[in-house]
Symmetry: C2
Subunit: 382 residues, 2 copies
């Protein structure tokens, strides 16, 4: 016997909740702050100066807005690479979702003091819980030397953490790696011992065929962020070749400053559309696309018994309104969900057996948005 609530679900479908394989939650404060410009100018003139002003409290406010947006669009887990991680961990605990929280390692951007703090944090497993796990996240090969990447791998293996990084996002990153290390970014991470089934990387836009095979052989995960890759003109995501070569392919939104939403449904539809136009109309059918936004992410971050609606699995799920106009008529539920629906059909969201949204209501929603508006305004004018 369980201490369980029996709920009336007539007229709803119970579908797996989304897992977001790559984001920077607190960057929701920078949504729409700068668009429609090339990456270098975008980073140097807008994003980095804004980020330099972010304090602990701002990260909390931005993370809260991001988690709210994710819950409202059916996402109950996210892998987060950012700074002031304690704030984001607190928000995740309080709002009832799950996360893999990065201890972000960027040798070239971090003071020795903070680097020391990061390593101590990892050794102590600070703040971990059932729903919140730490993850070693070297930012990228262009912000860390080879020695630091090796240290990341050592501590991850010693402390049983997974590793996540930015990888082969732009052509210039790949070219820099070839100049500096004489190999592709994938080969560099392999050289330092990072690439196995506990390794996942965001973007993976500019993989060679050999890179794909190394990932597939190792059981590593490529987390595509199709919307961000297109918007920043980083390159066309290789959906079809990745699947053909057997890579575990997962999806993420990237941050709200380059997307500009945190909507996994949109990533899922976009991934299958790109697979088809760069393959054929039968590439990446609806059900396979749904897996990329759910179980494939869970596999990447070592979440057990979640990501599917199945007896004995943990209850992470969405109640989807079958009476929504975009779910009507219903010749095929999965097709309607993947190709036709939008988030307006998500009535309720369940994470770890508890409602985090019910009848489209999230506790504290108005305060979260009000705080985010005030915070973003202050920072923009600071």
């Amino acid at each position: 016997m369980y201490n369980a609530e029996v709920i009336q679900c007539e007229g709803f479908a119970l579908l797996p909740a989304f897992y977001n394989g790559h984001t920077h939650a607190a960057m929701s404060l920078l949504r729409g702050y700068a668009d429609d410009m090339e990456l270098d100018k975008w980073l140097r003139e807008y994003i980095w100066p804004f980020e330099a002003k972010l304090g602990d409290k701002d990260i909390e406010v931005g993370s809260r807005l991001a988690v709210l947006e994710m819950i409202k669009s059916g996402t109950v887990f996210f892998a987060d690479m950012y700074w002031h991680r304690e704030q984001t961990m607190k928000v995740v605990e309080e709002m009832g979702v799950r996360a893999s929280i990065g201890v972000t390692i960027a040798e070239q951007l971090t003071s020795p003091e903070n680097m020391k703090k990061n390593m101590e944090f990892l050794k102590a497993h600070v703040g971990e819980s059932d729903r919140v796990k730490l993850c070693v996240m070297p930012h990228s090969m262009y912000t860390n030397g080879e020695g630091m990447l090796r240290r990341c791998v050592e501590i991850a293996k010693a402390e049983n953490y997974r590793i996540h990084t930015h990888l082969s996002e732009t052509l210039s990153e790949v070219e820099q790696c070839q100049r500096q290390f004489g190999c592709t970014p994938v080969e560099l991470f392999e050289r330092v011992g990072a690439i196995d089934e506990r390794f996942s990387a965001a973007h993976c836009v500019h993989f060679t065929e050999d890179d794909r095979k190394r990932f597939a052989d190792a059981g590593a995960t490529a987390v595509m962020c199709p919307c961000s890759n297109l918007k920043l003109s980083s390159g066309m995501p290789q959906v079809t070749p990745m699947i053909r070569d057997g890579v575990n392919l997962a999806l993420g939104t990237d941050g709200a400053s380059s997307n500009n939403s945190l909507d996994m449904h949109q990533e899922m539809k976009l991934a299958t559309l790109l697979a088809k136009v760069n393959g054929s109309a039968d590439s990446l059918p609806a059900e396979a696309a749904l897996k990329m936004a759910t179980v494939n992410v869970a596999r990447a971050f070592g979440l057990a018994n979640v990501g599917e609606i199945r007896e004995g699995f943990v209850a992470d799920g969405l109640l989807v309104d079958l009476n929504n106009e975009r779910m009507t008529p219903c010749h095929d539920l999965v097709s309607n969900w993947v190709y036709a629906a939008d988030n307006s059909s998500i009535d309720s969201v369940i994470c770890n057996g508890n409602f985090v949204m019910r009848g489209r209501h999230v506790d504290g929603e108005e305060d979260i948005k009000e705080a985010a508006r005030a915070c973003a305004k202050r920072l923009a004018n600071a």
Copy 2:
């Protein structure tokens, strides 16, 4: 003095409503009926046999569902190419939106009796009103001979109609045209006198540079349907080359059987993402993308004084909730609307000065969905 209602809009932005440049409304009944297969099999084994069963009443039911979905996602005008047009015209009148309704000409699919009826219909301007206009819609070059295309142009010019067609959607269409007529589909339509500023064509995926220049010089409109073009693997929409060569570029959803929604917001975001990945990060900025989904469509179909929020213009608009989480924070309204929002932020929809949705409520919504479910079920089992 006007007999006007003064409404309280604090907390809302008034944004232009969407205009859908190409759809087949009643195909909403086939949403999700067949996906993930190549075009020929999809058409011959699924779509055409289902369509053969559609009667007058079914077209009315399917059109009503489509208009409901369009209203809920902020669209107040659509260009419709389908059969049993009287039913769709009636629905448009009753539901308060606008449409350019095609008299669809497909010589190879239509009985001589129906062809005669079509021509009489056009001469009599049957059923036209302020919000509903007829349009001559030869289905394509592969369903009409050159003589019939000429007749379409003659009657359009004589009766002051616009012309709309499917054009260069697939590579096989272009190859067939080269074999049969020794020219591209654009050159064929030019040869019969169709291409001027009153001509618009859906898809335009496989244009040559010369085709684009002919369109630009003539002031004709290309109506891209990016989601459908990707999903059917027809080809990559040429957003950047079309803009560079000065073509009036507009957007449409195509039918719900190949999209599988009728969501102009999605087409708008997809168009700007494809422009960027196939161009650069500053290609098709947010405001230009918004125009492709609004005024550029209005221009194509000859709708005057609509498509922008401007004094003296007809009131077609959306009340967008600035308190929606995806509109928060608001560094830039247009960026948030184009890149971050989804339809959940649309509170109310105004067409021709009247509310067609208010507080997300559309009159008769439940009956429309119930009728569509029953109709689709009967047809699928028939």
